[in-house]
Symmetry: C3
C-alpha cells in the first residue's frame, strides 16, 4: 500500500502561503507540513528529513513545494534543495514562488491555443519581473521571437541574460527593449502577434490608442487583475474573448488554467521521486492537460 | 463531492493554540493550517489565499478561525479579515480569542435554562474583561437589566460603552457600577436574580457573607477554575447544582457546554461561505443545541 | 468510536523536524500539529491545550512528541511537560530529541542480539554526547560493565554522573575514561566484547591498527554515517555483517531498526494517556519488536 502523500511546503515568507496550501489539499495530498521563514542556510535539514525517512519507492510519496512571494529567494531554495540530493536519495520538488511558474505557463498555454508560437513575434511587457521572465523563456523555447520590454534597457538586458536559456539558438530569439512613452511602446509591439502584460497591479502598459495601431496583434493576455488593467480592451474575466478582432485573456481568465496546472503539477510530484518542476516542466504539464 | 474541509487557524500569539486546534479536529475538519504571530498587517494575504483558491459552493469548505489569548487583538483581526471580503468572494469566519465567545455563550445559556432572562436583573462581576463584556452583551440582548461591575467606575463605563450594543434600547439595559468593598458589592448585586463572576483566576469576587444577604439570587455562575474560586459556595464541577436554594455553575460545569458550542460553531462555518461568528451568533448556536 | 489521533510535535529548533514529522505520519497518526521554537517558558499552555480538550479515554488519542536537535533542551521540555500533568489529567509523551533515544535503543538492541549484555564489558566511544550517554545508560541497566570514553576525563566523569542511573548498583557499572592517543584507546577497549562509536560525523574513533589488537571484540557498532566512519572495518550498510570475525553494524544498518522503534514508540503513545517514553521505555519497546 502506498504511504500517505506528504507535501512539505517550504516558504521564505514569514507565513507560509495559504493559497499554496489550499491548492495542495485540492490536489489530493494527505498531509501538509508548512514551513515559513525558510532560508538557504536552514533548508538542508528540512530536505534531509524528507530524503532519509522513507526508502525505495516510498520516497515518491514525499515531495517538496517551494513557494513564497520572492521568486529569487525561491530559486535559491530550489538550487539548495536539489543540491542536497545524491544518487537515488532524492524527492520530487516543485518551484512556484509567487505563482510565477504556473501563471507564466497558463499565459503561454493560452496563447498557444490560437497561435503557432514558432511562427510569431511576441512582446512581454514588464518582462523583467518573475512572471514576465518565465513567459519570455517559455515563448523563446517554443520558437517565438520575443521582445522583453521594460522601462529600462539595462534591466531588460539583465533580465534577458538571467533567463539563461538552454541554447544559443533560444537566446538569439530574445530581444531586450526599453519602452516608456506610447511611441516607444508602439515601436516595440507594432509587429507582434502576441502581447503579454506581466506588470504590477493597477498599471496600464498598453493603452487603447497604442493598441489600435497594432495591426498584427491577434492575442492579448493581461495578468493584472486590479484596475486599471494592464491592456486596454481586455477584461479580467476574458478567456479567449474576441474584441475588435483580438482574442483577449484577463487575469481571471488565465487563473482557472493556472489552478489546473498547479494541481496537476503537485499530483505529478508523487508519480516518482525525481521530478524537478520549474517553468519548462510545469508548462509541459499544462500542455498535457490540453 | 464536497472538497476537504480546511480550517485556517489565525492566532496572534507566538504559538497557535493547541486547545483550539484539538477542538477543530474533533469538530470534523479534514485539514488544519496553523498560523501564529498573525498581525493586522499580515492577515490580508492569508485571507486572500482562502478566498481565491476555491470557487462557488466550494468556498464553504474553507473557513477561518481567529484565536489567541488577546481578545482585542482577535477583534482587530476579525475586522481586518471581514474587510478583505467583497461580494460573494468570502469565507466563513469565527472569533473565539481566549475562548471568550464560547465561554460567555455557555454561561448565559446556563442561566437561560433556569431564568427568563428578559425578566431579570443580572450582575456580571469583573464585567470589563473579554468574557465579562460578552456576557453583559448577550444578557442585555436577551432583555435582562445588567449591572457591569468593576473595581473602577471609569473602567466599567468604558467597557459598557465599548460593548457597542446594537440598539439604544439594549444600551439602556446596561448599568456600569463600581464595587470594591463588601458593602459596595452587596449594593450592586442584592436585587439580582443572576450573578456571573468573570474575574481572574484565584480571586474571590462574591464572599459567603455578601452572598448570604442576596435574597433575590437564584443562579450563580463562576467562570474561575482556580481556587480561591470567584463565588463562595459554588464548586468548579457544579453544573446546575442547588446549594442553599441557589443553582450554581462552576468553570468546569460551564466548560462542557462551552466545548459543545465551540465544536458546533466550527461545524456551522462549513455550512455556507458567509458566516461571521462572533458572540451573538455563537450564543444562537448554543441555544439551538438546547 | 475513537477520536482522531493527534500528535503534537514540540520542537526547540527554529523549524520543527521534517524527519520526526514524516515518521509520525508513517506511524499512523491522523493529525500532526507542529510547533517550533518551543521553550520551557512557553510549553505549559501547549500542554494544557492537549490536557483540557478531550476527556476520559479520549485523552489517549492526543499525545506529545518532544524533538529538536538539542537533547538537553528536549530533556528540559520533557520535565516541564510532565510537570503540567496532575491526577488523570495527562497525555502520553515521548522524547526523542535528535533521535538520541531511538538511535541508542537500536544500537544496544543490535548488540543484544549477539551478546548477553549482563556478561560483557562494553566501551562507548564519544560517550559524552546525547546518543552515547543513552547507550551507556541502557547497557549499564542491562548489566554490562560500561566504559564511557571521551577525550577528556573530566567530561567523561561529568557525563557518567549526569546519566543519573536509577540505582547505585547500575552506577557502579559505569567507568568514565579518557582516551586521546591510539594507546589510550587500546587500553580502554582492549578487553571489551562490544564497542559502540557515537562520535561526530567524519571522525574515526577506532583505527584499524587499534582494532586489530582487540582480541575480545565481538560486536562493533558505528553510528557515524559520514566518512571517515567512526570504526575502521565497519561499513555504513553493515547490519550484523561479520568481517574478520567481528560482527559489525553501521549507521544505516542501525537506522532501519531505529525507524521501526521510532514508529512503534509513537504508536505506543496512543495506547493509553500515561506513557512517558524516554530511553529505557523506548529500548523496552525495541525489545518487544524482537
Amino acid at each position: 500500500m502506498a504511504k500517505p502523500k506528504i507535501l512539505i511546503q517550504l516558504d521564505a515568507d514569514a507565513h507560509a502561503s495559504v493559497f499554496d496550501a489550499v491548492v495542495a489539499v485540492d490536489a489530493g495530498i494527505d498531509h501538509l507540513f508548512q514551513y515559513h521563514s525558510v532560508t538557504p542556510e536552514k533548508i538542508r535539514d528540512l530536505v534531509y528529513g524528507a530524503m532519509f525517512t522513507r526508502g525505495g519507492p516510498d520516497l515518491a510519496s514525499t515531495a517538496l513545494f517551494i513557494g513564497g512571494s520572492n521568486v529569487a529567494a525561491g530559486e535559491q531554495l530550489l538550487r539548495k534543495a536539489v543540491g542536497c540530493f545524491f544518487g537515488p536519495m532524492r524527492v520530487s520538488v516543485m518551484l512556484d514562488a509567487n505563482g510565477a511558474n504556473t501563471t507564466a505557463a497558463a499565459a503561454v498555454l493560452a496563447a498557444s491555443k490560437h497561435l503557432d508560437l514558432s511562427q510569431i513575434q511576441a512582446a512581454v511587457l514588464a518582462g523583467t519581473g518573475p512572471v514576465g521572465q518565465r513567459a519570455v523563456r517559455l515563448l523563446a523555447r517554443a520558437g517565438a521571437q520575443v521582445r522583453l520590454i521594460s522601462r529600462s534597457l539595462e534591466k531588460a538586458a539583465a533580465a534577458a541574460e538571467s533567463i539563461a536559456p538552454s541554447t544559443e539558438e533560444v537566446a538569439a530569439r530574445i530581444t531586450p527593449l526599453a519602452a516608456t512613452t506610447a511611441e516607444e511602446t508602439l515601436d516595440a509591439v507594432a509587429h507582434c502577434e502576441l502581447v503579454i502584460a506581466a506588470g504590477a497591479a493597477g498599471v496600464e502598459l498598453l493603452s487603447a490608442s497604442v493598441r489600435s495601431r497594432c495591426p498584427a496583434l491577434q492575442v492579448a493576455i493581461d495578468l493584472n487583475a486590479v484596475p486599471p488593467l494592464g491592456i486596454a480592451g481586455v477584461e479580467s474575466h476574458d478567456k479567449g474573448t474576441a474584441r475588435d478582432g483580438v482574442i483577449g485573456y484577463g487575469a481571471l481568465g488565465v487563473g482557472g488554467t493556472k489552478m489546473k496546472i498547479h494541481r496537476a503539477a503537485i499530483q505529478r510530484l508523487f508519480q516518482s521521486n525525481d521530478q524537478v518542476l520549474d517553468a519548462e516542466q510545469i508548462y509541459a504539464i499544462g500542455r498535457e492537460l490540453g
